[in-house]
């Protein structure tokens, strides 16, 4: 609660010389009394006051009740309050005297000398002056005293020769002295600051006034400002160039600029300009000089340095513009060049750390990641294309394609996970890129993937444990997903699966089933139903044979031949070229007995023998050395060998006539028997190839370290013929699939426009097909009266029931 200044002044004048305690107490009294009658207090003498004080402490109410107290009987003393006879005067030269005292103190502070008066005294002086309404004048005088001093300081900064750092130190010292002084001065003039200055909105607080003076008279001097800012920039530039500089000095001066509120206009703008110039030039230069990883490391270093600068001396408001300036000059300007110059190398060499840094840096600038992602994607496309495309159809290269693709994928997965933080954009870009390049070469990738799976599922592949195999299959499924012509995969997969099943070469039933379920999951039951059918056929065949062996006729006909049978469902299995051979009579008989048995069980069916797939075990006796062997051979080999039971020598033509085996098959069969490792036949003349005129004799002197010998059929180089036919069949089947799909859709929808039909077809078909080809199939179905065009609207079709 503010004291009434007039009262208090009067009191303090009167009580001069009294002990401080009394003075204080009287002030308290007057404070209390002024509530009733502010004038009266001056009339009281000292003892009166004391009495009054004690009365007050006894009963606080009595003083309020004085008029009433008069009326009461027994009130012996009367308290009379009178006005001053004369208004108390302040000494005439009070203002000048006091100011002189204060001015002297201010001067001493500014000169950093000892002050003659106690601070309390000075404070009191200020307080008194304020109380006598001299505040305005006091403020004026203080201001001009400060101004004079500040002005006097200017000269030192205008010297002709100066060194940046020297100058800055000078400035910093001056500023700090100024602050120290102003704090001191403000403490003395605190009363002024808190009362007059606070109530007068048009003038600045003492501290602000000090700042204002410093700003106006020192810093805003053109030369000084320029020198200061240049000095600062010079110092920062030197630090950026690697020198160690006085960071404290920088910090002090920048704080000064901030306090003076000219940080932004005087310093920051120029600073950012200088930064931009520096880094723009540096970016240009280093992009030329350094390779990308080095450059990125440099950028990272620069960003860290600038952040440190912010931490140590720059104002935090500069952070955003500064960092973005560095990012822009060092990164954004060079995005394309960095990617073009360095990304391929980094990815090729799998430079995880550098790629991580690149991702980090690029994520800072606008469109950085987008560009990185695009470049990443085109890298995958280019590299992948090199793996996949093989214009000369070099079998050696194709052999490694799938393994290379898997390795490539692994590498990229790792990079995306570690370097690109599993960013979904990159994951998608990779998927798209894979899909793009893998389908640049038609069919072959699908075929090779199928063959790769075969090589892994085939018995004898002991490289991997079940778990590893399972993992590998999962990876292959990822590649498979990218393939457009999934039916090509299926065709080749099926062919190999058939071989594995029929020759009993599958490594593990579990792995087969697992692969099947993966395919099913990926492409739906329709895709795998036939493959599943193949497994089912194998099971059913086992049952049939068991049943047949119980059958009386088998016992009669078998003649100790141990028969096993595989009955395959047409359509599930690959188609094999039909072929007829001449079997020995006992085999024909056994075969017929089985056929009768089978058809008795399954009416409405017909059987077609597949001699190419049959195989046998033969007991052989070579008499010269009395050697007995068991030969594991194909049916064709069996037929040839059985002939030699009748005769010791045959010509090629004779064998051909006797067995009825097709020419090229027979040549390969005889080659395997007479030119391979285990030569049970002699050929004359000797030679690798079988000619028409060749003769074959039984090799009575056959020797082999093993008892049971497997004589492999010489594989027709699976290549062209078989391969082409598989591919051709796929394309042929596609026609049927398109037809079937069209009919299916039309049957369900009855009426459909052309466009809707086409789009539904694309949803259903699992292989790439051109719209023109679809149109042809539609035409063909219209010709065959499966559907018809609408009479009014040729773009609409109706299903014909």
């Amino acid at each position: 609660m503010p004291l009434s200044s007039a009262n208090k002044r009067a009191l303090s004048e009167e009580n001069k010389g009294e002990p401080a305690l009394t003075s204080k107490r009287s002030r308290t009294e007057s404070k209390n009394r002024e509530l009733d009658e502010p004038e009266s207090c001056a009339t009281m003498t000292e003892p009166q006051k004391k009495a009054n004080f004690s009365a007050l402490s006894g009963n606080g109410i009595s003083r309020h009740a004085s008029p009433l107290a008069n009326a009461k009987p027994g009130a012996a003393k009367k308290l009379v309050i009178k006005n001053f006879k004369e208004k108390p005067q302040i000494p005439e030269n009070f203002e000048e005297q006091t100011w002189l005292k204060l001015a002297e103190a201010v001067g001493a502070i500014q000169r950093s000398c000892a002050i003659r008066y106690s601070l309390e005294e000075l404070y009191q002086a200020v307080e008194n002056m304020c109380s006598y309404k001299m505040a305005a004048g006091l403020y004026q005088q203080l201001q001009s005293a400060c101004m004079k001093h500040v002005r006097a300081n200017l000269q030192q900064f205008l010297g002709d020769t100066y060194d940046h750092e020297q100058f800055l130190k000078m400035m910093s010292n001056c500023w700090q002295a100024h602050c120290r002084q102003m704090i001191m001065i403000r403490s003395i003039f605190l009363f002024l600051d808190r009362t007059y200055v606070l109530q007068t909105s048009s003038i600045l607080s003492i501290w602000d006034m000090g700042l204002d003076l410093f700003r106006t008279h020192i810093i805003s001097h053109r030369t000084v400002e320029a020198r200061t800012v240049d000095g600062l920039l010079n110092l920062i530039e030197r630090e950026r160039a690697g020198e160690t500089v006085n960071r404290q000095l920088l910090k002090n001066l920048l704080r000064m600029l901030t306090d003076l509120q000219i940080y932004q206009e005087a310093f920051e703008k120029k600073f950012l300009e200088a930064t931009e110039r520096l880094y723009s030039a540096e970016g240009q230069r280093l992009m030329q000089e350094r390779d990308v990883p080095e450059y990125l490391a440099h950028v990272d270093k620069r960003l860290n340095e600038e952040n440190e600068r912010l931490l140590h001396y720059l104002d935090s408001s500069t952070k955003k513009p500064l960092i973005s300036c560095v990012e822009k000059q060092l990164l954004e300007q060079h995005l394309a060049q960095i990617l073009q110059k360095g990304l391929t190398q980094l990815l090729d060499e799998n430079r995880i750390a550098d790629l991580t840094l690149m991702n980090q840096l690029f994520s800072r600038v606008k469109d950085g990641l987008k560009e990185l992602c695009t470049a990443f994607s085109s890298y995958i496309k280019n590299t992948g294309r090199l793996i996949v495309v093989n214009p000369s159809n070099d079998a050696e290269k194709d052999k490694d394609m799938v393994q290379n693709l898997l390795d490539f994928k692994d590498k990229l997965d790792n990079i995306i996970e570690v370097c690109f933080a599993q960013n979904p954009k990159f994951v998608n870009a990779m998927k798209e890129a894979f899909e793009n390049f893998i389908n640049q070469r038609q069919n072959k990738p699908a075929e090779l993937i199928a063959k790769y799976v075969d090589s892994k599922l085939r018995a004898g592949n002991k490289e991997a444990t079940e778990e590893e195999l399972e993992k590998l299959l999962d990876k292959i499924m990822v590649l498979f997903r990218f393939i457009h012509g999934k039916d090509v995969f299926e065709a080749f997969y099926k062919k190999d699966l058939a071989k594995r099943l029929l020759v009993g070469k599958s490594a593990s039933v579990d792995a087969e089933k697992s692969m099947l379920s993966k395919l099913k999951q990926e492409c739906g039951g329709g895709f795998t139903s036939k493959l599943e059918g193949m497994f089912k056929d194998m099971e059913l065949s086992k049952d049939i044979v068991l049943a047949f062996k119980q059958h009386q006729q088998y016992l009669d006909a078998s003649q100790a031949i141990d028969l096993t049978v595989n009955i395959l469902t047409m359509g599930y299995w690959p188609t094999y070229p039909p072929c007829e051979v001449l079997l020995p009579s006992e085999m024909v008989y056994l075969q017929e007995v089985f056929k009768k048995f089978y058809l008795g069980k399954h009416s409405g069916r017909k059987l077609q023998w597949q001699p190419t797939l049959g195989h046998c075990v033969l007991k052989a006796e070579f008499n010269s050395f009395g050697v007995r062997k068991e030969l594991q051979v194909s049916l064709f080999q069996t037929l040839c060998l059985l002939l030699f039971n009748e005769n010791n020598e045959y010509t090629y033509q004779e064998i051909k006539t006797a067995t009825g085996i097709e020419d090229s098959e027979l040549r390969r069969t005889l080659q395997s028997l007479a030119c391979g490792k285990a030569r049970v036949l002699h050929k004359t003349p000797k030679g690798k190839d079988v000619e028409d005129g060749d003769k074959f004799q039984f090799n009575d002197e056959f020797k082999h370290k093993l008892y049971r010998i497997k004589i492999n059929q010489i594989q027709m180089k699976e290549t062209q013929e078989e391969n082409t036919s598989t591919t051709e069949r796929v394309f042929h089947d596609r026609q049927y699939q398109v037809d079937a799909a069209i009919v299916r859709i039309m049957k369900m929808r009855k009426t459909l426009t052309h466009n809707l039909l086409i789009s539904e077809l694309y949803n259903q078909l699992k292989f790439p097909v051109k719209p023109a080809d679809l149109k042809k199939r539609i035409e063909s179905l219209i010709d065959r009266e499966y559907m018809e065009r609408d009479k009014d609207n040729p773009n609409t079709y109706h299903y014909v029931a």
């Binding site: 089912k536 141990d562 595989n566 395959l568 469902t569 399954h602 046998c616 006796e621 030699f644 010998i709």
Partner: protein, 106 residues
């Protein structure tokens, strides 16, 4: 090309007289492909090959049960297609003879 099967060591050496046969068939794995014994391999009702299940059975995943039926006229269809057909019209869709089941495949 021959390849050894790592099996039993050479068996008993026998120096008997020359046997009748040098080669005897011990084991035979016979392979055959079965298909429905039909004249036309497409079902005229659903227009799907008879070796494949009809569309209804395909969608219901009952491929194994989708057998073929022959009429007296020797025309054949999916059994399930035909059984739906005869509910509307008891004639063979191909020759219009009255439909009498001759046999059902299994």
């Amino acid at each position: 090309m021959a390849e050894e099967m790592d099996v039993d060591r050479e068996a008993d050496k026998e120096t008997s007289s020359k046997p009748e046969k040098m080669f005897t068939l011990k084991k035979w794995n016979l392979v055959a492909m079965w298909s429905w014994d039909v004249e036309c391999d497409t079902c005229a009702i659903c227009r799907v090959q008879v070796m494949d299940a009809c569309l209804r059975c395909q969608s219901e995943n009952k491929q194994d049960d989708c057998v073929v039926v022959w009429g007296d006229c020797n025309h054949s269809f999916h059994n399930c297609c035909m059984s739906l057909w005869v509910k509307q019209n008891n004639r063979c869709p191909l020759c219009q003879q009255e439909w009498v089941v001759q046999r059902i495949g299994k």
